[in-house]
Symmetry: C2
Subunit: 279 residues, 2 copies
Amino acid sequence: MTIENISANKVFGGWQKQYTHQSKTLNCDMRFAIYLPPQASSGEKVPVLYWLSGLTCTDENFMQKAGAFRMAAELGIAIVAPDTSPRGDDVADDDGYDLGKGAGFYVNATQAPWNKHYQMYDYIVKELPALIEASFPVSNKRAISGHSMGGHGALTIAMRNPERYCSMSAFSPICNPVNVPWGQKAFTAYLGKDKSTWQAYDASELMRQATQFLPAKVDQGGADNFLKEQLTPELLEAAAKASSYPLELAIHEGYDHSYYFISSFIEEHLRFHAKHLAK
Amino acid sequence: MTIENISANKVFGGWQKQYTHQSKTLNCDMRFAIYLPPQASSGEKVPVLYWLSGLTCTDENFMQKAGAFRMAAELGIAIVAPDTSPRGDDVADDDGYDLGKGAGFYVNATQAPWNKHYQMYDYIVKELPALIEASFPVSNKRAISGHSMGGHGALTIAMRNPERYCSMSAFSPICNPVNVPWGQKAFTAYLGKDKSTWQAYDASELMRQATQFLPAKVDQGGADNFLKEQLTPELLEAAAKASSYPLELAIHEGYDHSYYFISSFIEEHLRFHAKHLAK
């Protein structure tokens, strides 16, 4: 497991760095970004928040736009932002922004041509944390969050692996992908037409059936253009009620789907995760 | 004076909006962005910080990357980010990133073909504030700041118009453009070969000769790749000593020329300006 540093920027006393590595899981070279708070430079092993980005994003969007470092530095939390899909000239792609590169949906694809590289679920659950914990001064205390497609990814990955995470959160997640256009297009391509294979990647389905609970926080903008057609937080809320899942869900009037929304509430998410990472 | 709204994002309880307008000064259509803090929605007239961006930037870079809104909302300060040059198909340009579009250098060009549109000094000093103050719930209390080329712009504009601003600041400014490659290339093109016309746009020269003082704060990253060849803050510091200008200048070890640096210290700049805007 070797990583190669390709950039480093000092920010709020810590360091935002980008690395590349050869991913065995994804069968291609991958890039990720990490924020190491000042505490990581003084011998302390810090916990890690994994941030999963949305459609069309890379490892850079959150780092440049979320305004998360002030609070991450204060709380002593590292943040890891992986890319949103496998990358490279030989990786299958699609003309749409919502399938293929930049749109891995954090699933393990079973269908050709996607199954050769699109194994983002395993990459996020296993390979990436192992790499991070072997390469940086971090503990094995993990939290996970994300935005939109990445919110879907964070919730589903955390609920399927509750022993691996202290807490989960999401901004504007795709809450019920099996029933909305983005999810149906991606799952048909990556998982095939048999919808029974889709359920394991649906946050509302997983929350409805949950018997092990993680602290969960979801924030959604009330003026989000994708709210009704793609995101459907009311279905996640109904699922939480059905299983008595401890979900804190809030709709914020006037806020949209952009990083302006995320930046306004990222401090609350970092404080939420810090509380549970400290336990 | 009419403006057309083209985008709006709620952020930290206020609104980040983009507008277009026909600029008489620049003889073209221009875009700018404004952040209106929550106080502006409750009938209060808020003061304005003008932010001048650096080479290759538009009105968007600061708004997306600086992380300024949390503190602007807390302090009740509007922020206006203009574009960095005239724009449009008939506007003269150059292949270099450091001349022409995206590189107006906040001067009034006197040389063809630049003089038809490149009148950024007058645009920032006169037309834009008049437009802002006629169109939004803002007072005529103004502060000015900027980054790199925009730091040069902020310092020179403030020092030439001390009656119009309460305070000035800059991140990583081009402190002595008449003596560095970026400035010499731009000033030769826009102002001609007679270097006596350049002096009025040189922050170190203006500071050395200043008799009216404004509160001034400059921050510079110690690991900035452009520090020695293009930025030369030691010359601004020497000029401030010569005229006893009240300049607060700090070099921050390890920080580079990016918005990661700006985001780390923008809160200090906003607090600095708020103190003087309140007088």
